[in-house]
């Protein structure tokens, strides 16, 4: 069978705002009729992506295609898409009827046609009899419905939704989610949905695009994204998870928490450092017995409604477990995880690698600063070098002035027995640090790197 052409295709799209990169070389294909969700924390570029598709921003680089036609430069009013805005953007000077009929009137439709389409759109969103109400007199949920009706009444090929439910309360949001899903089925058009709510994304989507820092981290079905996250960002962002450092001993056997586990993953090579992801609900917890793979002591237990959430300390590693049965604090318990439930991810990096320049035998310049290092030989002065520093060797200082350079905590990942931090330096380079100290997102820190830990390596090529 011939593969169906994607309805929207982004080819290496980059968007800059001044010097700031909002989208970094993003490529994406959207299939016709699909419900695709762009998911990510605020500031990850997801709204920018949507606005590029709608045509409100022009791409700095790359191409956007729709139904086989390039539309990179097409102005928004000529694109076959309609948008539901986050703040609804209903025209305050028009009533519900005129708001919804806005697009149809521009197409010079007759009054009868407009009337007919409008009625069915209002029925679809459950707002019949509201035609002549002032939009200001409607509640948030009702305005939301009018905004959706105003978009779908134009019968677009693609409906773009920019966090449409963000302003609604939880109960209303859940109802609207189901309605949107029904609407998608009935209309049969493509939905591109932007949200920061991972639960919403899992509930609604056929495909989820996880974004962070202007880049696509993973594209997949909700089950793929949840069960097989490709990197620690995705694993951490979607649902609860235990992310631990591990070692792939050989195919089918992984070592973490000082124990060996059978797993189903292959092809990582022997004795490779990996990240291990285990969802808290995939762990079995029971009184200590022979089948236990890990033995630990319950540190805390919280009732979460459906289940209990417990932290178990096993040999220095804190592990999050969810179970219907409660085990009290200080109880000794056994843990077991099935091979299929262990998700192994290749480590993106095993140490910090910087590009630098050797100034003299004991000084090297990288990250925009000069660092002392152990005397090196065999490399000429002034040569470009590779500098490696282990995660745990970098020291973070509370007082910014104590560090050789400064930065901001950008991303925090708990690894069971330590935190793995991503620090964005003031020159926009990432420094990765393992630490036992607790930092918050956005903390300003000073970074120092003592001389013995700096490894200077000759550039090979």
């Amino acid at each position: 069978m011939q593969e169906e052409k994607p309805i929207i295709e982004l080819k290496n799209v980059t968007k800059l705002f001044g010097n700031k990169i909002a989208l970094d070389n993003v490529s994406l294909k959207v299939k016709k009729g699909e419900f695709i969700t762009v998911l990510g924390p605020s500031g990850c570029g997801k709204t920018t992506l949507l606005r590029l598709i709608a045509g409100f921003h022009a791409a700095s680089n790359g191409e956007i295609w729709m139904s086989g036609k390039e539309i990179t430069q097409t102005p928004p009013y000529m694109r076959p898409v309609n948008t539901v805005f986050q703040n609804y953007a209903l025209f305050p000077h028009l009533n519900v009827y005129d708001n919804i009929a806005f697009g149809l009137k521009l197409k010079k439709m007759t009054g009868k046609e407009i009337e007919k389409k409008l009625k069915s759109a209002l029925r679809m969103v459950g707002m019949t009899d509201y035609e002549y109400r002032d939009v200001d007199s409607l509640s948030g949920g009702q305005q939301q419905r009018v905004a959706i009706a105003r978009a779908i009444v134009n019968e677009p090929q693609v409906l773009l939704l920019d966090e449409p439910l963000a302003a609604l309360d939880l109960k209303m949001r859940k109802d609207m989610q189901l309605e949107l899903k029904d609407m998608h089925k009935t209309l049969g058009i493509t939905f591109v949905y932007v949200t920061h709510d991972q639960e919403e994304a899992l509930t609604l989507s056929d495909t989820i695009v996880v974004m962070s820092e202007g880049k696509i981290q993973q594209i997949g079905s909700p089950t793929d994204i949840y069960n097989e996250p490709q990197n620690s960002f995705v694993a951490d962002f979607i649902g609860e998870s235990n992310i631990l450092n591990g070692m792939m001993v050989h195919d089918g056997l992984v070592h973490f928490c000082n124990a060996d586990f059978e797993c189903v993953d292959k092809g990582f090579g022997k004795n490779t450092q990996v990240d291990v992801v285990i969802r808290p609900e995939d762990l079995y917890i029971f009184p200590v017995s022979d089948v236990a793979q890990l033995v630990g002591v319950v540190q805390s237990t919280i009732f979460k409604g459906v289940h209990y959430e417990m932290t178990v300390l096993c040999d220095g590693y804190e592990i999050l477990v969810q179970d219907y049965h409660q085990f009290g604090v200080n109880t000794e318990v056994g843990l077991l995880v099935k091979p299929f439930d262990i998700q192994i991810m290749k480590k993106e990096r095993i140490c910090n690698t910087f590009k630098g320049k050797l100034l003299d035998t004991s000084h090297v310049e990288f990250l925009g600063c000069t660092f002392e290092c152990f005397p090196v030989s065999g490399i000429e002065e002034g040569a470009e070098v590779k500098v490696e520093v282990d995660f745990s060797d970098i020291i973070l200082q509370d007082n910014e002035e104590d560090g050789m350079l400064t930065g901001e905590v950008n991303f925090i990942l708990y690894k069971g027995d330590h935190y793995h931090l991503t620090i964005r330096s003031d020159w926009d380079e990432d420094v990765f640090v393992d630490t036992n100290d607790i930092w918050d997102d956005g903390d300003r820190v000073g970074i120092s790197i003592p001389p013995p830990v700096v490894r200077v390596i000759k550039m090979t090529d």
Partner: protein, 266 residues
Amino acid sequence: MNRKFLLYASSRKSWALPYLIFAVIFVVVPLLLIIVYAFTNDGGHLTLENFEKFFKHQEAINTFIFSIGIAILTTLFCILLGYPAAWILSNSKLNRSKTLVILFILPMWVNILVRTLATVALFNFVSIPLGEGALIFGMVYNFIPFMIYPIYNTLQKMDRSYIDAAADLGANPMNVFLKVVLPLSMPGVMSGIMMVFMPTITTFAIAELLTLNNIKLFGTTIQENINNSMWNYGAALSLIMLLLIAATTLFNTKDNNGSNAGGGLW
């Protein structure tokens, strides 16, 4: 009684007292005086003869109509020139540093008479004859900031997502303007009209200077009568003009009703 007074003096209500006294002396009393003078004759007897005189006096009526015409024309020019200017000012792409706003408001820092005298000098220098054209130019020049500023304010405050939404629904830039931007900025335009129309209809200094006293506006007629000690007739003319302005104000407030009123000047 004494305690009551103290209580009042220490309450926040008492803060309004100075303004109340000011308003009574300089607004209410003069208005009452105008009404009293308009309906009495030299001898102080109640009469309507001042109004009769006006409606029989063809020249005065002509001046009145001419003044309204000039005011309407000035206002129209101010809208036509001021709206695009306000649009440019409110557009952050075209006006990154807000300095343009200052440049447009700057003429308001100079006294209106000084500006008009300078205009006269300038017209003489490039030998453009003074007259009706010069008058309208002078009026537009003097009053256009009052049109730009309220429109600029409403455009500035307008949520840009309305423009996005309109474009998204298939409106080309022309339709976006006509169907969304213009209706949403109407409160600002109305404020601007009030700010320009009212002073232009009552002005006389600009007319005197820029037409070498050849064209008489209604303001001039009033001023002449009062200068010639015809207080009662002058008061009647003032009252007629007041009613006209009051009428336009009513029209304006009715239009603004409910919406979060326009330019911030009214």
